[in-house]
Symmetry: C3
Subunit: 387 residues, 3 copies
C-alpha cells in the first residue's frame, strides 16, 4: 500500500508546484475570445470521448466494467495535470493558450487510453496510474519530435492534424509493446467474455466516439477550415461503418458486435492525418479502406497476432488504432499536395519505433509492481463485486 | 450474400463519385465563419440525438439491443453520403454551405430513423440499408415540394422550422406504411418485451433526445432568434413530460416506463413547426397537448391500431412522431401570424399522402428480400448472442 | 388521484399565464448574439448534466432505476417553468436575457436534484413534484438574499460563481432536512442495493457530470475568463478523482464503486466558489482536499450520520455536495483577493440555516401525502417492473 500511495501522490504533489504562468495570455480582442470559447467547446466534446467514449467502449469485458471505468477516470486525471506540469518545465514546447494546451493534454490522454486498452484487465488499478506517469513524458517526446520537429530530424511539416500517427498509432503500438513485455501464459488462455449488457454499453461508448469525432479532428483547425473537416470526418466514419458491417458478415457469416463497436470507428482514426485536406469522396474512401482492413484484423488476425507476439491485446487496439492510424498517415502522401514525403514516412517510422521501445520498457517497469491474480474481474479490487 | 453486398456497396460506390464542388464556398468574413462553427456545434448535438438518442430509445426491446444500435449506425451512415450525393446531382436544391447541408442530411436521417422505428426488429440488417436507400430520395422529394415549393403547389411559405411535418410526421407515416405492407400474422402475435436494463437504456436515449432537442429545432434558425427558440423547446418538453406522467398514471393506474421514455418527447415533436414563433406559454401549451394525446395513443390506441391496420408499429412512432407532428403543423395556423393557412394544410396533406404511398411501395420492395425467422432477436444475426 | 392531479396541474396552469414579456430584449449587435448562443451551448451542457448526469448517477439503486430517471425528468420539468413563472412576478429579480434566465433555472433544478437525492426511493412519484413546487421558491429566496443581496444583509459581494454555496450546499442540506423530517424506522433498516449494471449506469452519470462540469461553472462567466475557469474545473476534478481512489482503497481495503462515482466529483463541487479566481495549482489542491473529505464521509461518516440524524441520505448528498460545497465556499476566503470575509461567512451561514429550516418544513408538508410501502422498488409504481 505504501508503494501505491507514493506513486499516486507523486503527481499530485508535482502539481501543487504548477506555476500559474505556464499559459500564454489570452488574446485581447473579443472576437479572439469568442474563437477560444469555440475551441473550449470542442475540448468538452473531446472530454466526452475520453471518459464516456473510450470508457464505455472498454466495458465490453462483462465482469470488468467498474474497473474499466475507474481506470479511465484515473488515466484522464493523471494525464491532464501531468501534461500541464511537463509543459510548464518548458523542455519541449513554448507557451500556448490555455484551451489549446488543454486540447493537447486531451490528445495525450486519448493516446494513453488507447495504450491502456491493449492491457485492459491485466493491470492492477494503481498500475494504470504508473502506466500514465510513464506514458505521458514518452508521448510528449514523440509529439515534440514529430509535430514541432524538436530534434530537427524532419525536412518538412508532417500532415497529422487529427493525430492518426502521433495519437492513434503511437498509443496502439505503445500498448502492444506493453502487452508483449508482460503477458503471462495464463493470460493467453483466459477468454475475454462479453454479454448483451456489456455489448450495449460498448456500443454506447462507440457511438459517443463517433458523434464527437469531428470535434477531435477539428479541435485546432483554423475556423474557416472547420466545416470541410467536420463533413470529411463524418463521411469517413460513414464509410467505415458501412464496410464494417459488410466485412463482418462476409468474414464471419454472422455480425460480430465487437466489430461494429470498434471497426466502425476506423474511419475516424484513418482520416486524422488528412481530415482538413481530403476531398469528401477521398475522405469516404479512406474510411472504407480503414474499416475493411480493421474488420479483417479483428476477424482474422487478432487471434494469430496473439500467438505470434505472445501478447493479448484486450481491446484490439492494434487493429482499431494501430493499422488504421498508419494507413491514415500514409494516405496523406496521396492526398496532401506539396507534402514532403520523406518527412511523412520518417514521422511514421519514428513513431512506430519509439512507441515499441518505450512501450516495452514501460511494460517491464510496470511488471515490477506485480501481476493480478485473476484477469478481467472487478471482484479482485472492488467491494461487493462478486455477482 | 451477393445480393446483400450489391445493395451495400452501391451507396459506397456512388459516393466515390461525389464531386467536391457540391458545396457553396464558405463565407468570407471571420464572423460568418464563427456563425458557421456555431451551426456545426448544433450539428454535433443532432448527431448525438441520431445515434445515442434514437439508437438507445430503441434498445427497449430487450433481446434486440445490439441489432437496434447496429441498425442505427447503418441508417445514419447510409443517409449522410446518400443525401450529399443526391444533392450534388442538383435535381432538387441549390448549393448550400457545408454545415447547412450536413444539418439537412441529419434531418433526413432523423426522419429515416423514425420510419425504421415502426418496423424495428422485423427487418434483416441489410434490409435496413435498403430502407435507407429508398427512403432518402422519397424524403428529399417531399422536402423539396414542401420546403422549397419545388412543384409550385403552395401559395406561401410553410411554417415548419423544426420539422414537425416534413421530418416527424413524414417519417412516422412512412414507417407505418412500410409496416402495413409487410407485417406478418406471426408478428401480430409475438410480444415485444422489455426488462429493467432495456428500459433504463431506453430512458437514456430519451434523455439524450430531450437534452439536445433545442439544437435540433434551432439548427438553422438565425442567430438572434436562437435564445427564444431554445427556451420554447425546453418549455414544450417540460409540458409534455409532466402531462405524460399524469396521463400515464391516470389511464393505466400505474406508470408505464415506455410512456415516459416516448411521450415525454412529444412536446419536442409538436413544437417543431412553431418553435421560433410561439410565445413561451404557447410553447408549453403545445407541449401539454401533444404529450397528453401521445400518451393516450400509447395507452389506448396502440393495440387497436395494430389490429385495425394489421401493422405492428414496434416503437409506437405513430403516437410519438405521427400524431404530435400533425398537431404541431396545425398549431402553426393558430400561432404564426400571416401564415398562409391553405399552404400549411396542403403541406400536411401532401406529406401524409406521399409518406403513405412511398412507404407502402418501399415496404413491398423490401419484402422481396425476405423475412426474418424470429422477430426481435439479436441471435438470428449476431454471433454469441444466445443468452 | 384527484389530489395528485391538482398538484401536478397547478404548475401547468400557472405557466399558461406566463407573460411573454418576462425576458429582457436580446442584445442588438451580432457579436452580442454570438455570445448569447455560446451561453446557450453551455445551457445545453448543463441540461445534459441534469438529466443524464444526475439522473443516471441515481440509478445505482438497482431496483429503482426507472423511478430515479422518471423523477429526474419530472423534477427538471417542474423547475424550469416554475422558475420562469416566479421570475416573471418580479418579486426577486430584474429582467434578464432568455438564456441567462434559462441557466439560472437550470442551477435551481440542479440544486433540487441534489435535494431529491437525499430522499431518493422513499417518495412516491407525485411527491417529487410537490418537493419541486416547494423547493424552487425557497431556493430562489436564498439565491436572492445571497447573490443579489436582496435583504441587504451582506456588506460585500459573495464569491460563488459556480454555486458551491447556493446550489450544492443549499440543495444537500435542504435534502438532508427533508430526510430528517420524514425518515421512518423501516427506512433505516432497509439496505440500498447496487449491482454491476446499476454501478455502470451510475458511473455513466458521474462521467457525464465530470465532462460537462466546466460549462456549469463557466456558464455565466465573461467570455475572456472562460478558458482559465474551464482548466481550473478540470484540474479540481482530476485532483478529487485521484485522491478518491487513494482514499477509497486506504479506508476500505478495496475500491468502492460508489466512492468513485460520487467523491470523484467533489472537486467540481468545491471549486465552484473560486473557479474563476483560483490559480491552477490552487484549483487542484481544492479538488484534492474536497475529494479526500468526501471519500472519508462516504466511507466513515455516512452510516454514523444516518443513526445520529435518524435520516437516510440515499445518495450521500451531504458528503458529495454538502461538505464539499461548504469547503468550496470557505476556500474563497483564502483564494479571492479583496473578498469581504464576513459576507462570505454570512452567506454560508444563511444558506445552511435556511436550507435546514425550509427543508424540514417541506419534509413535513410532503409527509402529509403519505409514505411508500416499499422503499427503493420500481414495482410499487411502475407496470411490468416485477423482475
Amino acid at each position: 500500500m505504501s508503494k501505491i500511495k507514493f506513486f499516486l501522490l507523486l503527481p499530485l504533489m508535482l502539481l501543487l508546484l504548477l506555476p500559474s504562468s505556464i499559459f500564454a495570455a489570452t488574446p485581447g480582442s473579443e472576437l479572439a475570445s469568442v474563437l477560444e470559447v469555440q475551441q473550449y467547446n470542442r475540448a468538452i466534446h473531446i472530454m466526452a470521448m475520453l471518459l464516456i467514449g473510450f470508457g464505455f467502449l472498454m466495458v465490453f469485458v462483462k465482469k470488468y466494467g467498474r474497473s474499466a471505468l475507474t481506470a479511465t477516470f484515473l488515466l484522464v486525471s493523471v494525464s491532464l495535470p501531468l501534461y500541464f506540469f511537463i509543459h510548464s518545465l518548458e523542455i519541449f514546447n513554448e507557451a500556448k493558450g490555455e484551451i489549446e494546451l488543454l486540447i493537447l493534454a486531451e490528445f495525450a490522454a486519448a493516446s494513453l487510453l488507447i495504450a491502456a486498452g491493449a492491457v485492459l484487465g491485466r493491470l492492477k488499478m494503481f498500475q494504470y496510474i504508473i502506466l500514465g506517469l510513464l506514458f505521458i513524458p514518452f508521448y510528449m517526446l514523440n509529439e515534440w519530435v514529430i509535430v514541432e520537429n524538436g530534434l530537427d530530424l524532419l525536412k518538412g511539416a508532417v500532415a497529422d492534424t487529427g493525430g492518426s500517427i502521433v495519437i492513434h498509432a503511437y498509443g496502439a503500438l505503445f500498448g502492444l509493446a506493453v502487452a508483449m513485455s508482460m503477458t503471462k501464459r495464463k493470460d493467453l488462455e483466459k477468454p475475454i467474455e462479453a454479454d448483451a449488457t456489456s455489448d450495449r454499453y460498448s456500443l454506447l461508448g462507440s457511438m459517443v466516439l463517433w458523434v464527437f469525432w469531428p470535434s477531435f479532428c477539428a479541435a485546432l483547425v483554423p475556423v474557416e477550415a472547420i466545416p470541410h473537416t467536420v463533413v470529411n470526418v463524418f463521411l469517413a466514419l460513414s464509410g467505415s461503418t458501412l464496410i464494417t458491417y459488410i466485412s463482418s458478415i462476409s468474414l464471419r457469416g454472422k455480425i460480430n458486435a465487437a466489430d461494429i463497436a470498434n471497426a466502425a470507428l476506423a474511419g475516424g482514426v484513418a482520416i486524422g492525418s488528412t481530415c482538413d485536406h481530403a476531398s469528401h469522396s477521398g475522405a469516404m474512401l479512406i474510411g472504407v479502406i480503414a474499416g475493411a482492413v480493421s474488420t479483417f484484423g479483428f476477424a482474422r488476425i487478432q487471434s494469430k497476432q496473439q500467438r505470434a507476439f505472445r501478447a493479448v491485446d484486450t481491446c484490439g487496439v492494434t487493429n482499431l488504432h494501430g493499422i488504421p492510424g498508419i494507413i491514415g498517415g500514409l494516405a496523406a502522401i496521396v492526398v496532401v499536395e506539396g507534402l514532403n514525403v520523406s518527412s511523412q514516412i520518417s514521422a511514421i517510422f519514428i513513431t512506430i519505433v519509439s512507441a515499441l521501445i518505450f512501450g516495452f520498457l514501460s511494460g517491464k517497469i510496470i511488471s515490477i509492481f506485480g501481476h493480478r491474480n485473476e484477469a478481467y474481474e472487478d471482484a479482485e479490487e472492488f467491494e461487493d463485486a462478486e455477482e
